[in-house]
């Protein structure tokens, strides 16, 4: 067992005593009790485990917990603000999810996209979302929901002010 690792997850600090090479995913799910982040592939090719580290989307299944030491981590349980609300509202309004297992990761990638680019084109969506697999084939609705969320952003941001 190596030195304790301190994680800043969803605004709270947690000290975890696990092997340094343990993927962040399993620490979130099994040590910290945050199961919204999903296990899909273990090699960063499906996106189900997507979290934000310092605001950027990162696959937690290949991120050793030691690499996240001291960094601000946001999971599906902790996202908030106008962009997250716009995305999650659109997801429900357009009935995006089917089995839903990949959707935490889809939402995390979509929020990161809209935080960086408030009016993404279809090509931008392709680039930002192509790392997130969906076995149920919800892609057409994901695309429509991202556009809908983007359209609603100016009003939401105005309301926040």
């Amino acid at each position: 067992m190596s030195d304790p690792i301190v994680l800043l997850v969803n605004g709270s600090s947690a000290t975890v005593a696990v092997d340094a090479d343990t993927p962040l995913l399993w620490v979130l799910r099994q040590t910290l009790g945050l199961p919204g982040t999903k296990f899909g592939c273990g090699m960063a090719v499906c996106g189900a485990c997507m979290v934000h580290i310092a605001g950027a989307p990162v696959p937690s299944c290949v991120t050793p917990v030691s690499a996240a030491h001291g960094k601000a981590i946001t999971t599906i349980e902790g996202i908030s603000g106008p962009v997250a609300e716009a995305v999650q509202d659109s997801w429900a309004a357009l009935d995006v999810p089917q089995c839903g297992y990949c959707q935490s990761g889809q939402v995390m990638s979509a929020v990161a996209l809209l935080q960086a680019n408030a009016a993404p084109s279809d090509a931008d969506i392709d680039r930002a979302m192509q790392g997130n697999l969906c076995r149920c084939g919800t892609y057409p609705r994901i695309r429509a929901a991202i556009h809908r969320a983007a359209d609603s952003l100016p009003t939401r941001l105005q309301e926040k002010k």
Binding site: W26, F39, V45, T75, P97, Y101, Q130, C136
Partner: protein, 680 residues
Amino acid sequence: DKIYGNVSALVEGLPFAPEADGTLVRGIRWIMAKTARELGVMMTGGSSSMRDCWMPMREAGASARTSLIAAAAATWGVPVSTCRAERGVVVSSDGRRLRFGEVASLAVQYRPETITLKAAADFTMLGSPMPRLDSAAKSNGTATYGIDVSLPNMLYAAVVMSPFGAAAAPALSDARMQQGRTMPGVRAVMSLPGSKYGDPPALAIVAESWWQARKAASALAATVPTVEATANAAGGTSAVSTVTVMQDIRNAVRNDDGMPIRFFGGAKDALAAAARTLDATYEAPFLAHATMEPMNATVRLSNGHAELWTGTQVPGYARAAVAHVLGLDDEQVTVHQHILGGGFGRRLDVDYIAQAAAIAAAIAKSVPDVPVQLIWSREDDMRHDFYRPASVSRLRAALDAEGRVTAFVAHSAGQAPFKAYSKRVGFLLTQSGPDRTSSEGTWDQPYAFPALHASHSETESAIPVGSWRSVGHSHQAFFVESFIDELAAAAKQDPAAYRAALLQSHPRALRVLQLATAKSGWGEPMDSAADGRPRARGIALHAGFGSIVAEVAEVSVAADGRIRVHRVVAAVDCGLPVNPNIIAQQLESGIIDGLSAALNGELVVNGGTPRQSNFHDYRLLRIDECPVIEVHIVPSLDVPSGVGEPGLPPIAPAVANALFTLTGTRLRSLPLRMPKEAAS
């Protein structure tokens, strides 16, 4: 009778045509339905929830409505005939109102003797798009899948499984076994024999966290047994590599001695006598389910009682599997059902549940009451599936001087998935006789031919097979609808017009075909793709699960030979469209699932182990490859039929047919790959 029981899926496993209606057929269907109900086979499969539950749910609703009205009328002292129910409230003609909840406890005393179902004209919700109830929970991470279960003192298990056809578990020396038990967090290392449910012999490592168990499993590097083709009960060999399996299937097709499933009009004689014939052979590979949530199950054993937490399509068989492995009665097992991170037929099997029970039993010997959660890695999941069987089909037609079909002869071969499944779960009725699901989608299509002969040869191999979304339809639709296109080309006719001519006596299918062609702009010119490459359309129509679907695909081929699908227009007749929103979702899903298979899907096995292991080498469609999809629903008041699977079968042939129109090259093998010279 139990209200929830999947009868249609099991009845469909019987070897009869959907329209067959003799006394014997009716009798056997009745026995099957009765048996399914009495055994309490709870099953989500066969696109049958709506078909099976439509009438019982309507009757239950009408019964409740009648009781609530009677209770409200009694409360007010007015005749029942002056009251009606609307939107959760009983209303009297003089305007008094009682919410359902206010009269519910009284209503149980008013059991209706007769009920009247609502007339279609009075439907308020049926037929209107309704939102899903689970969208919010599935967008904010609060939906709980089997893999999310967390219990006090829970341990985690990882496994190393033997290849297909192996009788022994992966081997570890006593010293290595002992060493494994001293690895960080590891609590037990054990050898498992496997079970009749299909879980192979395995080595299991139980640890305080799944990562510790997984790491130990890799570090121990157990010696996995090697396998060779062995003699099987039928006197052949149980091949352990797809190269040999495909050869066996091709031989069976060539021998042309399969079990006739349906025949009329002396088709084989007509074929032999015909001056002109068309003869084509098609192939489809094994496919994995690759659900997003890998297989997992949690089992706790205490005081002769077991609990199971998992996502399954068959809670009853799941309970039976735990009971069987632990030597308990079914009644001593409690199943906590969770939502499924994808099923597609994979979670009809209970192998992973039996395996979790075996691990929990071993742990309970030293520490009782400790739950064990078994999680398969993606590699475990990909390499230990019950695959869509590979299949080969030879289709032949006798043609007259004008190119009209005078006889249609289909002979396919491949493993029998429903028979294999029935043996694993112990469902007796479909363990013998021809497995209808292997060849469904060929002999039960709506085209009118004067003579038909459809047969199937069941082959065997060590590669396990099961129900993959749309089962036999998934490959038979590709075979038949590609061949229909070849017939249209031979007759020098437009593919849609050619199909329409064969559907004149099947107005329901004809309407679906016409809706798809009208909405897709069939026959109209099209713009090139963004890179200037030309596009073309292809069409396919297929009937299954009580529904009929036609799809038009617009495709182009990139300069590097990559096949792109730009737009898919689908038309469906699924009876009364109960919730058009869900129907559109399911069709979109089936089309995208089918495109993954058509463009990339292929599982190759060498020496009992699949070559593919994860999503990098078992490629599924991603958002940047996904076409625009439109779904159009034929208005209907018929009994609702399936939508979960019927969207899938037509897409592969629609794309293949479009590629033929575009390039003149006929692709007869899945996945679709443009030969280099045709692509440029």
